[in-house]
């Protein structure tokens, strides 16, 4: 199958060059292309200029100085999954990467691309005249909503599908963005379904996160097909302990809302608590508090609850 339109392809070797190109109209950045190329083929996006970010030295490499982990945005998911340092100090991140898509896709797909990937909603992907395609309605409402948000939405009820986002936000990851002086928390990248806070010409160059003492983290993913599938629900959980007591907790749910969803009530409840059975049950219930499932996705509420419960149980156990 071919890409049915013409575009120019650029492969800049410096950030400046890339920023200049991406500041031009009708341009789009591309990493591994595993999400974008199929969208090109379906002519869902038809950019005039496609700018690869894979040839820029600053977007490569995984570094760890004992305190801070730094991952270039063009690093592939395979590199993350197989990196010795990440496996030793941030194994939950390596596990997450291993659970994304298939080996072939992980070999091409980049972390930056994973964080910025587009919505999977079939109505959007098939070109239905929904909000995201310039139309006036969300077809999931009253239609097939099995994949959609369980925490409501404004106009669009599609979910953010990134697995990596959940675990990285749980780890408190921040982004370095070319052209900005300060890093921003990864969580602030996400503004709504398919909406990022990046401005035209802005590029994510690196992702940073700090190692914490007495901290444990886990990623859980629920999907229909075990081998290759998008999450129906995922969660990234990090708990910082002070002895048995929970000093800080981060519980991020993926694929349940237009952005990665922070289960804030659950986090607040856990702080100062210990991981008793009762606390775990309560925390998992609080994680889905206020859920407003659509007609066909009530099951996701139950599954989200189960994932949080099992995640916490695992963290307590090991």
């Amino acid at each position: 199958m071919i890409i049915p339109f013409e575009f120019e392809y650029f492969r800049p070797s410096s950030i400046r060059e890339a920023v200049d190109l991406l500041s031009e109209e009708d341009s789009i950045p591309i990493g591994g292309g595993t999400d974008l190329v199929p969208m090109f083929k379906d002519a869902l996006i038809k950019p005039g200029k496609v700018v690869s970010l894979k040839n820029i030295p600053e977007t490569h490499g995984i570094e760890f100085d004992g305190e801070r982990l730094s991952i270039g945005s063009a690093v592939t998911l395979t590199e993350i999954a197989e990196n010795g340092v990440i496996r030793e100090h941030f194994n939950s991140i390596a596990t997450t990467a291993r659970n994304v898509a298939s080996p072939q896709i992980r070999n091409l797909g980049t972390i930056g691309g994973n964080l910025c990937q587009n919505l999977r909603c079939p109505y959007y992907r098939l070109g239905y005249p929904c909000h995201k395609n310039g139309g006036k309605k969300c077809f999931a409402i009253g239609g097939e909503s099995r994949w959609h948000s369980i925490f409501g939405g404004k106009k669009c009820f599609a979910v953010n599908p990134s697995d990596m986002a959940t675990i990285l936000i749980a780890h408190g990851a921040v982004l370095e963005i070319a052209g900005r002086n300060d890093t921003i928390p990864l969580e602030e990248l996400y503004e709504g379904p398919g909406e990022l806070s990046l401005k035209k010409g802005e590029i994510i160059t690196r992702i940073y996160l700090e190692r914490r003492e007495n901290s444990k983290a886990i990623f859980m993913k629920f999907r229909l097909r075990g081998s290759i599938d998008f999450a129906l629900v995922s969660t990234g959980i990090r708990i910082d302990f002070d002895g048995n007591e929970i000093e800080d907790a981060s519980i991020i749910l993926g694929s349940v809302y237009g952005t990665p969803y922070r289960a804030i009530n659950s986090e607040e409840f856990l702080k100062g608590n210990t991981l008793t059975d009762t606390a775990i049950t309560k925390a998992s219930e609080l994680a889905v508090e206020g859920a407003k499932p659509l007609k066909k996705n009530k099951y996701k509420v139950k599954i989200a609850k189960t994932l949080v419960k099992r995640g916490l149980e695992t963290l307590r156990g090991g």
């Binding site: 071919i2 049915p4 379906d42 097909r225 081998s227 599954i303 189960t306």
Partner: protein, 791 residues
């Protein structure tokens, strides 16, 4: 028949052995040429504009802008065709109903409306986007039970025959009549055996239920495609398909050509599973565009087109009522089947028949009523898919058998053993079970899986076991009603086999070569094969008729025997012995009585050619599915002989269910299968295991999600099929029954097993959850909902 059984089973050299595939090397080295690889000089690329509406009148089509696009060589719409409709089914009372390009109306999303041939695929895509079509949407209907209501929109009104039907072409001089479609019913099958009311009157337990199966997709890795080259009144086509004869027939009819002027060329096929049988719009369109432009035309469908615009598995609804005596004997069964056949007839009337025909060889049911409807809807068109009606019917019947057994206080094994058929049984349609390993298969599967030790032990606690039975045909009386095989002996002692049976991944070529090597007593390496060329090969059953081994293999075996007999005439002369004492092995012909009298094949062949001045030894063999039967059974009464041999299988499945997520994990599948005799055990196991995966997928997550006729998951990322990582432990137990009419006793294996897998998993899920699921697929959400209801 001149067959002399010279060897005992233990002496076979190639037959019964896991011989390496003859096409394996080409495939793993990437040298195999598939239709998508065919590239001819001057070739144009075709694209099809398809309907976005499930039901609409075409008010106008404006192609003028597209015509002006540089690189566009031809554009066609429905008015440019010969007006011949085609279809999988065409009987005197059911005319073919599908136009190759929509005439004045579209009936499903994806129906071909216009097509372009251009110098590149890119130009062709641009061109179809420039075609302007004005539609007037009509009311549409998507559920068969809704479609049968009097107030439902009529999808077809009167269907008129397009000239002579294939019944007439093939010798049955019955005029075709127009069909007035009532309540969108494409076909009705009604039959009654015994006295059903009396049967229920005699029953101690009666159970009723409604079951519903899902739409699934074949998921062949190679997308559908065609390359057509029309030149000097003759059409050459390379197709991704399952048998050349259905294709050739309908291409000839729709193009207005004599059949011998259409040549279906051999090409490797990247999977079919029932989904590449009948003629498709793009095959006609490529041919027509080639004739218009005088250049070869290639069309390869996108994956979305494969889903939306080719064919899918029939979803069916069953209302079933079963009665049994206290001792478990079935006294009566009443089945109503409703098939959603989509916007055109597809194989609707056939699947309705087969859901019944694949059931009757399993249990002895003295009183049976079966009523089946194939119903038009504005959904995509349905066709055969592995098992074609059997998985649908078994999902329903095997579950109800378990339900009624439980009520009668019997276990699932017992009730099946009480009712299962045996060798020698004569079916209501007259078919005879000359071989039947059903009870043995059941017993072996049950023992191997420790079914009786496990069944009910963890009821409702997340672990369960289940069993299911199936049967399948081995070829039927559909054109060309049998097969001819030809074996040609070369003067170096080698042989070439010619057969119309195609290799589409199942291993047909390998099996044919094994048979010929065995019968001639020569090395496999000396046997080559030319298969699936409609011009160079003798006719065979298209391989979708499941007669690949039983009929086509038998024809080739008889051809090899014929060649051997001729060879032996000359060998006897050369050796000065009687023909009857000759044997052939290791490329040498020798006397069994005096083994020192021996001569290599090549010397005999050369002698024969020399003596006869160029008359090469050509062995010819012929086989038919059912001796004495001349036509396919009636699709409206079910009467008539169907097949010459049924294969049987029993599946054991074990599952674990996670009550907090609703996830079902299939732990183990055991298929005990009676294919008569496994001519190549590895290929047989491959077939059984492939069906294990496919059946598991159908139960757990394979689902074509249709919404108002549009498929929401038309790609391999969103339509979930199990990958190699997702499959459980799988075991195949060979049950050998040696059918007297099959080659070396062999019969079908390609498509029956899946039905047992589907039903065994469904029964195992009941055992694990204590909840009966009557609708496919059984998703985690369904399990969570049901368990919540139970709490």
């Amino acid at each position: 028949m001149q067959e002399i059984l010279r060897k005992k089973k233990t002496e076979y050299r190639y037959v019964g052995k896991p011989v390496r595939r003859v096409d394996g090397y080409k495939k793993v080295t990437g040298r195999a040429v598939y239709t998508v690889d065919v590239d001819l000089p001057g070739m144009l690329h075709g694209k099809i504009l398809r309907s976005p509406h499930p039901h609409a009148i075409i008010k106008s089509i404006d192609t003028s802008k597209a015509e002006r696009l540089p690189g566009v060589k031809a554009i066609i719409t429905g008015k440019d065709t010969e007006g011949v409709r085609f279809g999988f089914v065409e009987t005197p009372h059911m005319p073919a109903d599908m136009p190759p390009l929509a005439e004045d109306r579209v009936r499903y999303v994806g129906e071909a409306v216009a097509a372009v041939a251009a110098t590149s695929e890119k130009v062709a895509v641009k061109a179809i986007n420039l075609i302007e079509v004005e539609y007037e949407p009509l009311k549409a209907v998507f559920h068969p039970e809704e479609a049968m209501k009097p107030e439902a929109p009529a999808i077809h009104d009167v269907i008129y025959p397009s000239g002579r039907s294939f019944w007439q072409e093939w010798g049955v001089e019955r005029d075709s009549t127009p069909q007035k479609v009532e309540r969108n019913i494409a076909s009705t099958l009604k039959l009654e055996i015994g006295d059903v009311e009396e049967g229920f009157g005699n029953a101690d337990h009666v159970k009723e239920g409604r079951f519903e199966t899902n739409v699934t997709a074949h998921g062949a890795l190679e997308p559908h495609g065609a390359v057509a080259r029309y030149s000097e009144g003759r059409l050459d086509v390379w197709l991704s398909h399952m048998g050349p004869y259905m294709k050739r027939y309908w291409l000839a009819r729709t193009m207005g050509l004599p059949e011998s002027h259409v040549r279906v060329r051999p090409a490797f096929v990247g999977g079919a599973f029932g989904g590449k049988i009948d003629l498709f719009d793009y095959e006609y369109i490529a041919s027509h565009l080639s004739r218009l432009t005088g250049r070869p035309v290639k069309i390869v469908l996108t994956r979305r087109e494969v889903f939306q615009a080719t064919r899918l598995r029939h979803p069916m609804i069953f209302y079933i009522k079963t009665g049994v005596k206290k001792d478990g004997r079935i006294t009566a069964m009443d089945i109503k089947a409703i098939d959603d056949t989509g916007a055109y007839r597809g194989t609707g009337p056939v699947v309705v028949y087969l859901a019944h025909a694949f059931s009757i060889p399993i249990y002895r049911i003295p009183n049976l009523r079966y009523t089946g409807y194939a119903v038009y809807t504005n959904n995509p068109v349905r066709v055969a898919m592995r098992g074609h009606g059997a998985p649908q019917a078994r999902f329903a019947v095997e579950q109800q058998i378990d339900e009624i057994a439980e009520e009668a206080g019997l276990d699932p094994y017992e009730i099946r053993m009480i009712n299962a058929r045996e060798r020698g049984d004569v079916l209501p349609n007259g078919d005879v079970l000359n071989s039947c390993g059903l009870k043995e298969a059941l017993t072996r599967a049950v023992e191997d899986g420790k079914f009786l030790q496990k069944y009910g032990k963890h009821r409702g606690k997340g672990r369960g076991v289940g069993i299911g039975l199936t049967s399948m045909f081995s070829g039927a009386q559909f054109y060309p009603f049998g097969a001819t095989g030809v074996v040609l002996l070369h003067d170096d002692g080698g042989a070439t086999v010619f057969t119309g049976a195609i290799e589409f991944g199942q291993g047909s070529d390998t099996m044919m070569c094994q048979i010929v090597a065995e019968e001639l007593g020569i090395d496999m390496e000396r046997v080559s094969i030319l298969s699936g060329d409609s011009e160079l090969c003798p006719i065979a059953l298209d391989n979708w008729l499941s007669g690949g081994t039983f009929v086509n293999g038998r024809a080739v075996q008889l051809a090899a025997i014929d060649a051997r007999n001729k060879l032996f005439e000359y060998a006897a002369e050369l050796l000065g012995v009687s023909r009857d004492e000759l044997q052939a092995e290791d490329n040498v012909i020798y006397s069994a009585d005096n083994p020192s009298k021996r001569i290599p094949h090549e010397k005999v062949v050369k002698y024969a050619i020399h003596r006869n001045r160029g008359q090469q030894i050509v062995g010819v063999g012929h086989a038919t599915p059912v001796e004495g039967a001349y036509w396919y059974p009636s699709l409206t009464t079910g009467k008539g002989r169907f097949t010459g041999a049924y294969s049987f299988s029993a599946t054991f499945a074990e599952v674990e269910v996670d009550f907090e997520t609703g996830v079902v994990k299939v732990v183990r599948i055991i298929n005990a299968h009676d294919c008569g005799y496994p001519i190549n055990p590895v290929l047989v196991e491959g077939q059984a295991e492939g069906q294990g995966y496919m059946g598991m997928g159908q139960v757990l997550f394979e689902e074509v999600i249709e919404e108002k006729g549009t498929i929401l998951n038309p790609n391999f990322l969103d339509y979930l099929m199990p990958t190699s990582i997702d499959v459980p432990e799988m075991k195949t137990i060979h049950i050998e029954t040696h059918d007297p009419n099959g080659p070396f006793g062999g019969k079908e294996v390609g498509e029956g097993v899946i039905a047992g897998v589907v039903s065994a998993i469904a029964n195992a899920i009941y055992d694990a959850t204590g909840v009966r699921f009557r609708k496919l697929p059984i998703l985690p959400s369904d399990i969570l909902d049901a368990l919540e209801g139970r709490e």
